[in-house]
């Protein structure tokens, strides 16, 4: 979760609007859908890298984004709402607790569409089970892209630790395991000595066997 080190983008999260058939006050059945709109300040857009949140009894999440069109032709090419996540499952079984209060993070590659120049986000929460009194999501954070993904910075030896040996190794090749174990021990010995430096000093004033006269007269 290297992206978590980024600062989340500032945004305004509106309060959830529940959708219900009939009159909210008189209807006995509980609402199964809630919508949360997230606006960016000052009509900014961001290149969304990842969104993170904590679930609160939401079973499925859909995500729609308002993307500014690619061309800069103003009103003629209006921004469009695009669904970028459809019924993403947060609780495997809506009637049971599993996943109900977990932290989730959905990143760019899991989305159905490109996440550049996003102006607004709408989260559609669904909870088909009537067991829960209330459902929502909390601690919503939007992480902008643009920063270099830390995964690109991994050295080769770490990203492919089990390098495959080529099938056709030379015939006369010595035993690599045995050689490796000896070389590693030689490495350890050298490293160990480097870590074991003396704290005391002899206190030499000479440079390459010669003394600086000025230094000697002052000490």
């Amino acid at each position: 979760m290297g992206t978590m080190a980024h600062e989340p983008a500032p945004c305004t999260i509106k309060s959830p609007v529940v959708l219900q058939v009939g009159d909210v006050r008189t209807e006995l059945g509980r609402p199964g859908v809630a919508v949360i709109d997230v606006m960016l300040p000052h009509s900014q857009t961001i290149d969304l890298q990842e969104i993170a949140f904590k679930n609160y009894y939401t079973a499925f999440l859909s995500l729609r984004v308002l993307r500014q069109s690619t061309t800069d032709s103003g009103d003629e090419n209006p921004s469009k709402w695009i669904t970028c996540l459809r019924n993403y499952c947060l609780m495997p079984n809506p009637h049971t607790e599993e996943g109900s209060q977990d932290y989730f993070s959905v990143s760019r590659h899991q989305m159905l569409c490109d996440m550049d120049r996003v102006a607004a986000i709408r989260l559609i929460l669904r909870q088909p089970s009537p067991v829960w009194l209330h459902f929502s999501i909390e601690e919503l954070q939007l992480f902008p892209g643009g920063q270099k993904s830390p995964q690109k910075g991994f050295p080769a030896w770490l990203s492919c630790p089990s390098q495959e040996q080529p099938a056709s190794l030379h015939d006369g090749l010595p035993d690599a395991h045995k050689a490796s174990s000896e070389v590693q021990q030689m490495w350890v010995l050298t490293e160990m000595l480097q870590a074991d430096q003396p704290a005391a000093r002899i206190g030499r004033f000479d440079v390459d066997g010669c003394y600086d006269l000025n230094l000697l007269s002052y000490t």
Binding site: Q163, L173, P174, A179, S180, V183, W187, Q197, P198, R204
Partner: protein, 299 residues
């Protein structure tokens, strides 16, 4: 051993002894229990004798050394230890006035201390022995604390490296880095570092020798290309030092793993060059150069 004399050794004071023997003599009733008393007394007497002769202390010291060093062959270790004690006591009595011999004897003893415990088995034991060696070198002569001068220290380092399979060519660059001028006073810490460096070099060379045997595949001579590839891999692993230490260790571990090493060797063999054998001495020399390059000079 007669009855009265054993009693004398065993009893705490002459008056107690008197009381004891007087009590016993006129009473033949306790005669049957006498053998048991005798055995008891005899064992007590032996204890006292051992204590008097310093054997208990010697054995305790020896056992402590065994515990400290935990040698592979404790019996051999003990035999060597006692042998050494005998030698040194003999030398101590005959040293007379010859300062040269005395010096040699002190160096010899210091070296023996240093070799008692392996530096990586138990660092505490090793450090103990180092300070024993340092003390034994510094308490020579008439004055009490002479300290160790550069001459003595350098001499000891040379002796440490002598006759252990390291040639002059391998040893000289290392000694150049860690020896001191004859007149310099050597602090214990520098002394320890110098000695440790020498011992580690010897071990490093032993490993390099085993490595060469692994590389030659039983034929007695190893291919120069393979040898150089392995050594340069080692050098690379040692030089990858700009990262913080845990990352550096992981990287080195990956570089020196069997897979990467096999690839490096394979690449070297794939080069279109004539097959030239590399002698073992040559290999060891190159390996020791890698080690010595990493040793920080004292100063």
């Amino acid at each position: 051993m007669g009855g009265p004399s054993t009693k004398m050794a065993a009893s705490p004071s002459p008056s107690a002894k008197m009381a004891d023997s007087e009590k016993r003599r006129p009473s033949p009733a306790i005669e049957p229990t006498r053998p048991a008393v005798l055995i008891n007394c005899a064992s007590e007497a032996e204890d006292a004798f051992l204590l008097q002769a310093g054997v208990s202390d010697m054995v305790r010291g020896a056992l402590l050394k065994v515990l400290e060093a935990r040698p592979e062959e404790p019996v051999d270790f003990l035999a060597g230890y006692f042998n050494r004690l005998m030698q040194s006591s003999a030398e101590a009595t005959v040293d007379g006035g010859d300062p040269q011999r005395q010096l040699h004897w002190r160096l010899d003893r210091a070296l023996w201390y240093l070799r008692l415990a392996h530096h990586s088995h138990s660092r505490i034991a090793f450090n103990n022995n180092v300070s024993m060696a340092y003390d034994s070198l510094s308490t020579g002569g008439r004055r009490k604390r002479l300290g160790v001068n550069g001459k003595l220290y350098s001499e000891l380092l040379k002796m440490t490296l002598q006759g252990r399979g390291a040639t002059e060519e391998m040893v000289a660059p290392l000694l150049h880095k860690i020896t001191c001028q004859d007149h310099e006073a050597v602090p214990c810490d520098v002394f320890r570092y110098g000695v440790l460096t020498c011992l580690v070099l010897l071990e490093f060379l032993a490993k390099a020798s085993t490595l060469y045997d692994a590389l030659d595949g039983g034929s007695g001579t190893a291919d120069e290309r393979v040898c150089l590839a392995v050594l340069s891999t080692l050098e690379e692993a040692l030089h990858a030092s700009d990262a913080s230490s845990p990352i550096r260790y992981l990287e080195a571990g990956s570089k020196l793993g069997p897979d990467c090493l096999a690839l490096a060797m394979d690449k070297a063999l794939a080069e279109r060059k004539a097959t030239v054998a590399m002698k073992k001495e040559e290999f060891l020399k190159k390996a020791s150069a890698i080690f010595v390059a990493k040793v920080k000079p004292v100063g």
